[in-house]
């Protein structure tokens, strides 16, 4: 199964993500979840960025928080709503929101 997980909060969601089994896991950072893609704590990036190479962050939610593409970790692809629709329909079989 190809699973896209929407992460909408800046709390670490590792426990939940570790329980989700997928052949292909994608993480889409939205709302306050985009801080995982932009913010380091004590010099360290969010551990969620190590969960999968398939990382995305919603540009509108980055911009709303006063940041831009340059603030986003290089491992994360910046996407818009149209891209998210394509991810849901074309890249992943199932979607989950945490």
């Amino acid at each position: 199964m190809k699973l896209a997980v929407f992460v909408s909060d800046f709390k670490l969601a590792s426990d939940t993500l570790d329980r989700l089994k997928a052949d292909k896991l994608g993480i889409i950072f939205v709302a306050n979840g985009v801080y995982h893609a932009t913010t380091k704590e004590n010099g360290k990036s969010s551990s969620l960025l190590n969960k999968t190479p398939n990382l995305y962050a919603l540009f509108e939610d980055i911009q709303t928080r006063g940041m831009n593409d340059e603030d986003v970790d290089k491992r994360v692809k910046v996407v818009n709503y149209s891209d998210v629709v394509d991810l849901i329909f074309n890249e992943y079989d199932k979607s989950a929101w945490i």
């Binding site: 929407f6 909408s8 818009n80 149209s82 849901i88 329909f89 979607s95 929101w97």
Partner: protein, 119 residues
């Protein structure tokens, strides 16, 4: 064209997840997909008509009407809605009122489902 059903279970208007649902639905329908939205919990409060649209404040009515015009099916949980003191004659025109079986039926016939919230 494929079908996306979104279950919107989070907070009332002004809630970030609610805004996400509206914007994702708009993006999907603009790409030619069929979209269904199920409003439950506090999201059901957004179906009341005659909302005042304040500058820089997120409200539901204008967006829901625009989505309906584009063919998005929107249904509110009737129990959630009347529990919040909103009766059907007060609701936005063309928003459907039904029970959970509406959502389950849409899930069953959709290509993709995204359930948001649930607190």
């Amino acid at each position: 064209m494929a079908t996306l059903t979104i279950g919107c279970f989070p907070g009332l208007i002004g809630n970030m997840s609610y805004d996400f649902v509206v914007k994702l639905a708009e993006a999907a329908v603009n790409k030619g997909h069929k979209v269904n939205i199920w409003l439950s919990g506090n999201a059901a409060g957004s179906v009341k008509a005659h909302q005042k649209h304040l500058k820089d404040y997120s409200t539901g009515e204008k967006h829901l009407k625009a989505l309906i015009e584009k063919g998005v099916e929107i249904c509110t949980c009737e129990a959630c809605t009347v529990a919040r003191g909103i009766q059907k004659p007060e609701g936005i025109e063309k928003v459907q009122w039904n029970a959970m079986h509406w959502y389950l039926a849409k899930i069953h016939t959709s290509d993709r489902v995204l359930q948001i919230g649930g607190e």
